[in-house]
């Protein structure tokens, strides 16, 4: 039953983790930003809440401690320095990995590294070691374990759960969440109690209103003495609330809940169930659970066997309801137009009426297409979000100082593209940091500012997205590249010397070409630039390299806005038309037999002092119609990776933007085709897959 809740949790948690990833690095730049601190605190808190409800104990343990640390930090007791950041980021990685593992269908998370937990606890203690610290962490951790035992009991493996049971569980979770707040309060007050060891009145004569006001105050980081005193009161009072005796009144408890709701204001769903009856119900279970504490996480997984999650969160997309309304509206319009056309068909209306209706249809479908496309669009921020962290970690490891600037994060592009671009971009950014930006001392020696700059930018350029990675590092030396190309046997010296600088830079995109003098574990890990190039080509994109020695490098990637629509060059053999992806097409000219040579059984065409292999597509596409002469044919020069080829075709029919449709049964594995499309005149055109075409002719 909780698979559904789990998958909801995972979607939410993944988003939070993405946010946290960015916020944590940002926080290092401005460690005292109260809004940011609160946001981070809430992030951990919300993940903990969900994980606690689902009984994912290891996740709760880490989140809880991280949350404690941030509570300290926002109260100014601990500062978020690089050391703290390292520990927190490690904790964050554990959380991020756990979410990923859960997404992948894993249900038994490994136990946490005790070292990490201890370091987090150490951070919570800060510099002052107080004797009064009443082990706030174990206290908080235990009730959480209780839940992991309790849930499986309530949650019958059969999946039939009554409303009452469910409510009890919800209450339990509420109880726990508020408990989380309490332990924050208690750990926080532990510091305070050094200052006011005896000023704490255990009886806690304080009204609910005052109490709530104080809690709010605490939230707003107002560190007045009154708040401190109050929080010590809270410390003594709240742990009692968790006590099985349950001496906390309903009102007080509700105040706590309200406070929690302030933090969790987004999840309204859980606000509803009243907490009153839950207290006695969930509290007595605690001691019993403690007895079997150690076995708790295991019994959880044993008693409630969970099927692996089938739904991959990446296969879902969140769409603004306004966008959906817009689409619904347009579909309504579409139905109206259809009805009009149907009536016209019956009454054989005037041609003017028909052309009006068709015009209307044209508008509606165009708008509808645009609206549906928008639902697939996501801001590029989703990819960019991970880079501050990547750059920070790398720079720290390499001992470099680097500022990463992100531009145009709100640019929208197709969801599939967002995912497909992630890996190539990570590689390029790593390259910039590793090979581009110099060590601080070298930069100073070269008269540059000590801190290097990497700019990651996105902008829309017509129907393309332009992504660029710019660094102000040492740039590339085209002569070194030429020399390397010769050393690696990619070309002879004469050919290498003929390369202009731009072509020389493009050498780094060739397979087996690594410019790093020594391969570091950062850039030399598997993905070469040739792989990046291939991935971009697959997206019908292109890479452009610009570099000035001593001043820096800029790598630009151009990809279409969407993968669904492909600009193509339409070619034909008789009646049958074929589409060639336009990004690969370089030039078109008339076939001239006198400019061709047959070299080693392969016909080649001479083009500006280069010989390019020719492939006569009719041999494959219209077999049997062997032609005497190709004189009226055209040659389409295409580039595939670093290779160029000339395709000989009957006719060239111009450009057309096509919607790619997959080929059906028995044709999926046929090489040479990327799919099919329906052309403007209603015919089917086959889309050629150039690497497949070349392969067909070469083997």
């Amino acid at each position: 039953m909780d698979e559904e809740i789990l998958s909801d949790f995972l979607v939410e948690a993944s988003e939070l983790v993405d946010q946290l990833n960015e916020q944590l690095v940002e926080l290092e730049q401005s460690p005292t930003d109260a809004d940011l601190l609160n946001a981070v605190f809430r992030g951990f808190h919300t993940v903990k809440g969900g994980a606690g409800f689902l009984g994912i104990t290891p996740l709760v343990e880490v989140c809880h401690r991280a949350e404690n640390v941030f509570d300290k930090i926002r109260n100014g007791d601990v500062s978020y320095d690089a050391v703290a950041a390292d520990v927190i980021l490690r904790a964050f990685d554990v959380i991020s990995d756990s979410i990923e593992a859960l997404n992948a269908g894993e249900r038994d998370l490994p136990e946490n590294d005790p070292q990490l937990l201890a370091e987090l606890d150490q951070l919570t203690k800060g510099t002052a070691a107080e004797p009064v610290l009443e082990q706030p962490v174990p206290q908080a951790a235990e009730p959480v374990k209780d839940v992991s035992l309790q849930l499986p009991e309530g949650v019958d493996p059969d999946g039939e759960i009554t409303d009452d049971e469910f409510e009890a569980l919800l209450n339990q979770r509420d109880f726990l969440l508020s408990d989380g707040d309490q332990s924050n309060a208690s750990s926080q007050s532990a510091d305070v109690s050094l200052v006011l060891p005896e000023g704490v009145d255990p009886d806690g004569d304080i009204t609910d209103d005052e109490f709530e006001a104080l809690l709010n105050q605490r939230d707003q980081l107002q560190q007045s003495p009154a708040a401190q005193a109050a929080s010590s009161t809270v410390e003594l009072k709240l742990p009692e609330g968790v006590d099985p005796d349950g001496e906390i009144t309903d009102d007080e408890f509700e105040a706590l809940l309200n406070q929690r709701d302030l933090m969790l204001h987004e999840d309204d769903a859980f606000e509803v169930p009243p907490v009153k009856s839950a207290q006695p119900a969930s509290a007595p279970a605690a001691p019993a659970a403690r007895a079997t504490q150690a076995a708790a996480p295991k019994s959880n997984s044993a008693s409630a066997p969970k099927p692996p999650a089938k739904s991959n969160p990446e296969s879902t997309v969140r769409v603004d309801t306004r966008r959906l309304d817009e689409i619904m509206n347009l579909v309504g319009e579409l139905v109206l137009v259809r009805n009009r056309l149907l009536t016209l068909r019956g009454s054989s209306g005037s041609s003017e009426e028909i052309s009006n209706a068709v015009g209307n249809l044209d508008h509606v479908t165009t708008d509808l297409q645009a609206s549906v496309m928008k639902t697939r669009m996501q801001p590029v921020k989703k990819v960019f979000g991970r880079f501050p962290r990547v750059v920070r970690d790398l720079a720290r490891k390499l001992g470099k100082k680097i500022d990463l600037e992100l531009k145009g994060e709100e640019t929208d592009l197709d969801k599939n593209l967002v995912e497909a671009l992630a890996d190539p971009l990570v590689h390029l950014v790593r390259n910039s940091v590793d090979h581009g930006v110099e060590m601080p001392q070298d930069r100073i020696a070269a008269g540059k500012p000590e801190t290097g700059q990497v700019i990651l930018a996105a902008e829309q350029e017509g129907d393309h997205i332009l992504l660029s990675i710019t660094d102000d590092g040492k740039g590339m030396d085209p002569d070194v590249l030429r020399r390397k190309a010769v050393e690696k046997g990619l070309m002879d010296e004469v050919a290498a010397n003929q390369l202009d600088d731009k072509s020389a830079f493009e050498l780094i995109l060739s397979a087996g070409f690594s410019t790093a003098e020594q391969i570091s574990d950062i850039s030399g890990r598997g993905v070469g630039m040739d792989v990046v190039k291939n991935m971009i080509t697959k997206l019908n994109g292109s890479i452009d390299i610009h570099s000035v020695l001593g001043q820096g490098t800029q790598i630009s990637i151009r990809v279409p806005l969407t993968l669904a629509i492909l600009p193509t060059l339409m070619v034909a053999f008789g009646e049958d038309s074929y589409a060639i992806p336009l990004t690969s097409v370089q030039e078109i000219f008339d076939y001239d037999a006198s400019k061709t040579n047959k070299i080693d059984g392969q016909r080649m065409v001479r083009l500006r002092d280069k010989s390019i292999p020719l492939f006569f597509l009719d041999e494959w596409l219209s077999p049997g119609s062997s032609k005497e002469s190709y004189d009226d044919d055209k040659v389409v020069i295409v580039s595939i990776g670093n290779q160029r080829a000339g395709l000989v075709v009957d006719q060239v029919n111009g450009q057309e933007e096509v919607v790619i449709k997959p080929l059906g049964v028995m044709l999926k594995k046929l090489s040479g085709y990327a799919g099919a499309t329906i052309t403007g005149n209603g015919n089917i055109a086959l889309i050629l897959d150039l690497p497949g075409v070349i392969q067909r002719f070469q083997y």
């Binding site: 059906g664 049964v665 044709l667 046929l670 799919g675 015919n683």
Partner: protein, 167 residues
Amino acid sequence: MQVSGSRGLVNNVSIMNDMDEEDFMGPSVRCVMFALENETYGIQVSKIREVLRVGQIRSVPGANRQVLGVINVRGVIVTVVDTRIMFDMMPKEIDDLSRIIIVELDDERTVGMLVDFVMEVKDIPEKKFEALSSTKDNASRHIQGIAHYQDSVIILVDVDTIFANHE
């Protein structure tokens, strides 16, 4: 339903008889009947999305011999196979009676089967089907069973198996 023999014996209690007959015949399979080379074939209705007249079929060079090409069915590209070639028969020219039966293999995969002509939809009692006893295994792997029903032999085609080996 008409089954000779049993009806003659209990002619005077016809209502009872019908019920008995239902019980006797048990569940039935609803099939679309089509013809290939003078034989009658059947495909379960639940597998069929629609039956189309033959329009323009776009050939796909390099594809298997059985594949005639692809057609556009309301924006979806569907492969069309020549059922005759699949069943090891000689191909025949497409004429006015030729039809393409669009078969749903699963939620995502559909395929069109070109047949000589489509006849009607019939309910065939399950009990009438029997496994094929012939051992000419290559041809019979598309055949789920045969039924002797209403003076004709109906060959029930197992579409899942036909296309299982062709991905």
